[in-house]
């Protein structure tokens, strides 16, 4: 039971982080395509 819970916990945290990161990156890609370069301040 211990390893089952350890595995689920890691999958939730790491999978959730990866999913959230992917959604943020996807939103960023979608938005940069819609905005003029001169307004892309703070994009590095």
């Amino acid at each position: 039971m211990e390893w089952t819970h350890v595995t689920i916990g890691h999958l939730v945290v790491l999978g959730g982080t990866a999913g959230y990161a992917a959604s943020v990156l996807a939103r960023g890609r979608r938005l940069t395509a819609r905005i003029p370069v001169r307004r892309r301040r703070f994009l590095g």
């Binding site: 039971m1 211990e2 390893w3 819970h5 350890v6 689920i8 916990g9 890691h10 939730v12 945290v13 790491l14 959730g16 982080t17 959230y20 990161a21 943020v24 990156l25 939103r27 960023g28 890609r29 938005l31 940069t32 395509a33 819609r34 905005i35 003029p36 370069v37 001169r38 307004r39 892309r40 301040r41 703070f42 994009l43 590095g44």
Partner: protein, 269 residues
């Protein structure tokens, strides 16, 4: 997409704004974030190696102690994120800067995500050590309240209100909510409950390898949190820019409609 003025716009890029020429910037990444991202991935990989394979099981709780390597770093990121929200909110109330407002909102979202991870991993750890997924213990209850408070903060940011009003209300909540973060942190000292005391302190009982694994995972999570914060802030900045463009386009449209009216008299917007 519907803008603040209530008009619909299929695409922000118009004939008047063809400035996309030149090297196309795709996404919110930059050289610095790419380096940070790879550093975070490598550190996270190492922390998994140490946390799941190299470190030993704990004497009393066995292998379930390995959940500590995702549970404790999650609260570290959440605390840091909510601290950024506090700083951003206070700075916004002082100077009404869009930068601070967006930074506060972005950090709060990351804090909420990691608080959710904290509650889930803690619940799984509780099942293996206490025999229950949930207990109305002071630490658990105050953490749940903190989670709901910051969800409320994000809900305020999503309200259909004028931008300044919405940002000011969110900033007030962002400052007030931090008192609950303090309660969460000290709850194990102030009240007696099921939750253990602070893991790291002057009387730390973790052995060397466990302590190193924990340190590595905290570093990895903070790197990931920082990387997420930079990207999330850039997304929020782009969203604000698009809202501004849509609003000014709608106003221009109304002005041109009014000036081309049958009476020939320039209309009011």
């Amino acid at each position: 997409m519907t803008n603040a003025a209530g008009t619909t716009n299929a695409n922000v890029m118009t004939a008047e704004t063809p400035a996309v020429a030149g090297p196309a910037v795709q996404g919110t990444g930059s050289r610095a974030t790419r380096i940070l991202g790879w550093l975070a991935i490598v550190t996270m990989g190492l922390s998994l190696l140490f946390g799941l394979i190299l470190s030993r099981p704990e004497v009393n709780t066995g292998d379930s102690v390995r959940l500590m390597y995702v549970h404790l770093p999650s609260i570290a990121v959440a605390y840091l994120a909510f601290s950024v929200t506090l700083i951003g909110s206070a700075a916004y109330l002082r100077n009404q800067s869009v930068f601070w407002d967006l930074l506060a909102g972005s950090a709060a979202e990351i804090g909420v995500v990691f608080t959710a991870f904290l509650l889930i991993s803690g619940s799984l750890w509780g099942r293996t050590t206490w025999g229950t997924y949930w207990e109305w213990d002071p630490r658990l209850t105050s953490t749940a309240v903190m989670f709901v408070m910051y969800l409320g903060y994000l809900a305020i940011r999503g309200l259909d209100l004028p931008q300044e009003t919405r940002s000011r209300r969110a900033a007030i909540v962002g400052v007030v909510a931090v008192f609950n973060v303090v309660i969460v942190h000290y709850s194990v000292q102030w009240w007696r409950g099921l939750h253990q005391g602070q893991t790291i302190g002057v009387d730390t009982k973790l052995d060397g390898l466990m302590l190193f694994s924990l340190f590595l995972s905290v570093v990895a999570f903070i790197l990931v949190g920082t990387w997420l914060l930079i990207h999330r802030f850039r997304v929020a900045w782009l969203e604000r820019q698009i809202d501004d463009i849509l609003l000014s386009e709608a106003l221009d449209e109304r002005r041109s409609e009014a000036s081309a009216g049958p009476s020939g008299v320039e209309g009011r917007v």
